[in-house]
Amino acid sequence: MAIGLDTEKANEAVKGGYASLERFGSKRWRNLGILAAAVVVFCIYAIHAHGFRLFFQRIVDALNNGFIYAAMALALVLIYKATGVINFAQGNMAMFGTFIAYVFISDHGFPVWLGIFIAMLISAAGGAAIERLFIRPFDPSNHLAIIIVTLAWFLILGSAAQVIWGADPHSFDTPFPRNRHFDFLDARFFYENVGTWLVVLVTLVLVSLLLRKTKIGLAFRSVSSNLESSKLVGIHIGRTIQFGWALAAAVGTLAGCLIAHNTFLTPGFMGTVLIYSFAAATLGGLDSLPGAVVGGLLIGLAETMIGGYVTPLGSDLALGGALVIIIVVLLVKPNGLFGSKRAERV
């Protein structure tokens, strides 16, 4: 009788029928080929059916949403790297931060940029406080407890905003020149949208530099890589995770303020955005900052293009499409496009 365990077979038995899917997902170039072919066929169909002008304009419009999803996905990735969980409260944290900016701008007459900046600082303090009071008491490896805490804050912030500001939509000013645009290749580029793109890209660069070049950034990357060893080199784990929460809260508020002008500000306005951002972060690989941005852009494109050209789907069903993307990515490529593999040689 053979006693040695065939680990590969054992693993497959555990994974069940999905092992074949994951094997399918592991052939990178073939998959990219399939994806590229599908995209090319779709583009040819789209241009052929409705002309290049509409096609290009839709791409431009898709980027507007895409960059917002990218910014929110950035915030999700920061907390995932720090805490190891998806922050379900991220959307409502951003919503609450945007309301704070609204109070400064509309009620107290602050310049838009200054209002957003102050709201980001207040959000950072709020994120740090949530970490200190509600995350740190738990064992960092107790992910379930931490997820429940984020769900609780999702509800608390949602209800609080409803009580304080009511359910009616408020209009939120844009920090960029309003309703002005330039044309390029027959497509309309509004300054407020192009401004959003640039702000998100600059945010990505700044956050990356912060993590690459500073001591707290080094500590942050260490904690997200190996918690136990981080303790053994003398890093203050709690303060480092707190830094991640503060940063994520500020980035989330920035994203909220950038999109609020297009969507109007209500207590629920970040709900849909958050679902798309989940999809973006999953697609990008959950622990990769550039992955979050690429994922956000791809989700934005998929949403606008599929919703625009596959008319029976429409924009309502596009949200379901985001969930389908999450599930397919998790099945076929669990580490996303840029996520680290978590496999080490020993």
Binding site: K215, L218, A219, R221, S222, S224, S225, N226, E228, S229, S230, K231, L232, V233, G234, I235, H236, S340, A343, E344, R345, V346
Partner: protein, 241 residues
């Protein structure tokens, strides 16, 4: 205060430790002098790893652990590390998603001086394999390279005391020999005090000044490396002849 400040690096008295309701150490006593390499031998489950984790205050402990006269019991791990204890955990404990250089840099996290890059260059000189791979992710290194990296990272903190948890685990025999030769050199040339926990007694005796045998959570035997190497019981149980 310890009776022999200046010569005793670590003095452990009546150390009790465990995980929740499970007591692993039942009143362990031992000491490590300045500049010494002390080896703790023991079978699986004897409490070797627990002893090191107790020194770093990563688990609940009772008793006295004095680092040059300072009681460590009750302090945070961060505090213990800042006081000069470096711990290379079992299974290397490198940061797989960080580059080799970043791993060394984070090893100096608690330092406030500006000689960190000098030290990084120094350890790159000592471990040229790491220098060749300085911008690779640590997770892509071989087991032996990761162990070297883990030791170099621990040394980046300029520790007073280096704790090594089964450094030979999972490494090929030739690599283990090289590793222990280097550890011996580090002690001889730089005077680094080490407490090494090992199952590979043969090699550990090569570099050790003194040794203890840990059995079922208590120190069963102690002596110089030569005394224990020639002890019949130790030979049968840990040297295999």
């Amino acid at each position: 205060m310890s009776t022999a400040v200046g010569t005793t690096m670590l003095d452990v008295r009546e150390l009790w430790a465990g995980y929740g309701p499970v007591q692993v150490l039942h009143g362990v006593n031992f000491h490590v002098d300045v500049g010494e390499v002390v080896v703790v031998l023991g079978a699986n489950g004897a409490g070797k790893t627990t002893t090191l984790r107790a020194i770093c205050q990563m688990i609940g402990t009772k008793g006295r652990i004095e680092l040059q006269g300072t009681q460590l019991v009750g302090r945070s791990t961060t505090d213990v590390v800042r006081r000069g204890v470096a711990h290379v955990p079992q299974g290397r404990g490198t940061f797989p998603d960080l580059s080799v250089r970043d791993n060394l840099e984070v090893g100096a996290y608690t330092r406030r001086d500006n000689e960190v890059s000098t030290d990084i260059d120094r350890w790159f000189d000592a471990f040229p394999r790491l220098a060749d791979r300085r911008s690779q992710l640590a997770g892509s290194l071989s087991g032996g390279e990761q162990q070297m990296l883990a030791i170099a990272r621990a040394l980046m903190g300029r520790p007073r005391l280096l704790l090594l948890d089964e450094p030979s685990l999972g490494l090929a025999p030739l690599i283990v020999q090289d590793l222990f030769r280097r550890l011996g050199d580090l002690n001889a040339e730089q005077g680094i005090t080490m407490l090494v926990v090992e199952q590979n007694a043969n090699l550990a005796f090569e570099i050790a000044h003194r040794a203890y045998v840990l059995e079922a959570g208590q120190m069963a035997m102690s002596g110089t490396a030569d005394e224990l190497r020639n002890d019949d019981a130790v030979r049968r149980a840990y040297l295999g002849y």
